[in-house]
Symmetry: C2
């Protein structure tokens, strides 16, 4: 591994001159430039980013904290981050924290020691401990997730209440009135459950406690379990809003076992619109979240903050409904010509 000194020697100039040329500043003749460039090429010289970082106080590296990143959801976010980050000349170090966040503090320390230029934290909530730490790190931090989990830091999120509202409204527009929901069991109030409720209210449908069920996770298994529970609890529903694609697929499996046909007997609309949504039978109608773009946006924010030194605004990303085959019209008049 050659250093700037080797180049200087080979080109018969000082290291200062080499440095100038490498960082293409001004202050040298074309002649020397050629000499130096030739030496660089010949020696295969690559500047040492460590030494550079030591001086410039910038490592062109950011850290990403994501909890149990095994799932496809986080993957999409990560992909967006990585893509944008590299476009801006930033490398990304991934830190996959376990479900309990036990490793998080350790990761934060590592990132701090490595003097990353910024941090993106993916996750449902920001522990006070983490917040304190990143604050002391004094580097740009942006939060990335589906919940507005903190307002002290800039974030990229979606409006879950609006999403739930859209989803349920979509079902209502399709003629459904007895609508169930698999929500996520949270400590505080659930924005999604709120949106669900509001959509019913606005359309003069009475809310029925029995039609909402709270899951402890977002996985396939949760879907089969809680859809079953939902159907037992509220057998008369004709549609359901399920807050993750995997769960929705699980619901279809559960329905299958229960002898319920989707969408003929009950329509299903899901949340996220990951690849699986397109792979199930029937294909899932879903609320689509721009996960990739959210990742990109988060990366863009940290980059901007790094450049300007001032905090960025939070962004709320738009969602849309992608219609596929898991939801059908209910109105009898329509049903005749357009069976589902």
């Amino acid at each position: 591994m050659h250093t700037i000194k080797d180049v200087a020697k080979k080109a018969n100039v000082s290291i200062a001159t080499v440095s100038r040329i490498v960082n293409n500043q001004s202050g040298y003749s074309e002649e020397t430039k050629r000499k130096v460039l030739a030496a660089i090429k010949e020696l295969n010289y690559q500047p040492n980013a460590l030494a550079r970082g030591l001086i410039n106080k910038r490592t062109h590296t950011i850290g990403v904290l994501l909890p149990h990143f095994i799932n496809a959801f986080g993957m999409e976010l990560l992909h967006g981050i990585e893509e944008k980050a590299h476009e801006e000349g930033l490398s990304v170090i991934i830190c996959s924290t376990d479900s309990f966040g036990a490793k998080t503090m350790k990761y934060l320390q590592v990132l701090n020691e490595k003097r990353v230029d910024g941090v993106i934290i993916i996750g449902p909530k920001l522990e006070e401990e983490y917040y304190d730490y990143v604050k002391r790190m004094a580097v740009p931090v942006v939060l990335l997730g589906t919940e507005k989990f903190d307002n002290r830091l800039p974030s990229v999120q979606v409006d879950n209440r609006a999403i739930a509202y859209s989803a349920v409204k979509h079902l209502i527009d399709k003629g459904h009135e007895r609508i169930g929901m698999i929500a996520f069991h949270e400590n505080g109030p659930s924005l999604r459950a709120d949106g669900y409720r509001k959509a019913l209210e606005d359309n003069d449908i009475i809310f029925n406690q029995e039609r909402i069920v709270f899951s402890s996770g977002f996985a396939f298994e949760d879907g089969v379990h809680f859809f079953r529970k939902l159907m037992l609890q509220a057998p008369d529903i004709t549609a359901a809003y399920i807050i993750s694609d995997e769960m929705a697929v699980g619901a279809i499996t559960a329905a299958d076992r229960l002898g319920i046909k989707v969408p003929h007997d009950v329509s299903i609309i899901s949340h996220d619109n990951l690849r699986v949504a397109d792979m199930s039978i029937p294909k899932l109608t879903a609320v689509s979240l721009p996960l990739r773009r959210m990742g990109r946006t988060a990366a863009e924010k940290v980059f901007q903050m790094i450049q300007t030194g001032r905090p960025s605004e939070s962004s709320i990303m738009q969602h849309e409904i992608v219609e596929r085959d898991s939801v059908c019209m209910l109105a009898k008049a329509v049903r005749a010509k357009q069976p589902c």
Copy 2:
């Protein structure tokens, strides 16, 4: 951000002493140790990894190159890598190269400038250009993939011929004889197609060109397209070996459209055993690859190479067949009591 100097000043010692204590070497009294530790805590001092790396010539960081890492397959590998790497005190920088590997050289340069301690390359093949570069980088490199794509570098792989053999053998054991396959279209000879052929041969089943079809990808869409093609080309098959879970799910969708029931009309065995395998209807019987463990193993290898300085052996990981619902017995005698 405080430096070792600040700590030294606050503790009334020299930076040398602080350094000794931080790296817990010997050569100081308990008394000074306490003082220094107190100062460190109070100032919240974190050693600068850049400065350290500059001297020690180790960054405790490795780079991972993975092509279009969007898919669940790469995710599993990555997860294994990350897990093990952090256990060994290594951070991992991800570099997601596009399908054409156009960005690869750029990434390699970045990793080189950052002086990573090692590199893991995920992918189907190693371009000569990349090989030359990593060789010049003079850091441990391990290849991670499903193909033994190069033998100049240590790798972690599986035995694709054996896998295909196992899969087809499984179908044969279940009474199938007219077995189709969706293989991957490669330039060279396909190990999987070889294994398929060998399994037939060993069981006195004649190979029929029509029953094998070559896909250009591994995705869901490829599955629906090529399964359709396969069924048109060889309508008499009773089973098929499909080389990715996503494709297998696609095949089920295609079958559905064709009015073919899986596994009643045709059994399907897939490859990889990702989460989707468990989510389709019917659930997929699949050859399971220990992707997570493969990732861990790759990380372990680079770590070892970093420590010892000598190259590591290549590893071939074991596979196993996970029986679920997409394959059924064919023998008529059996069929009577065990319909599928």
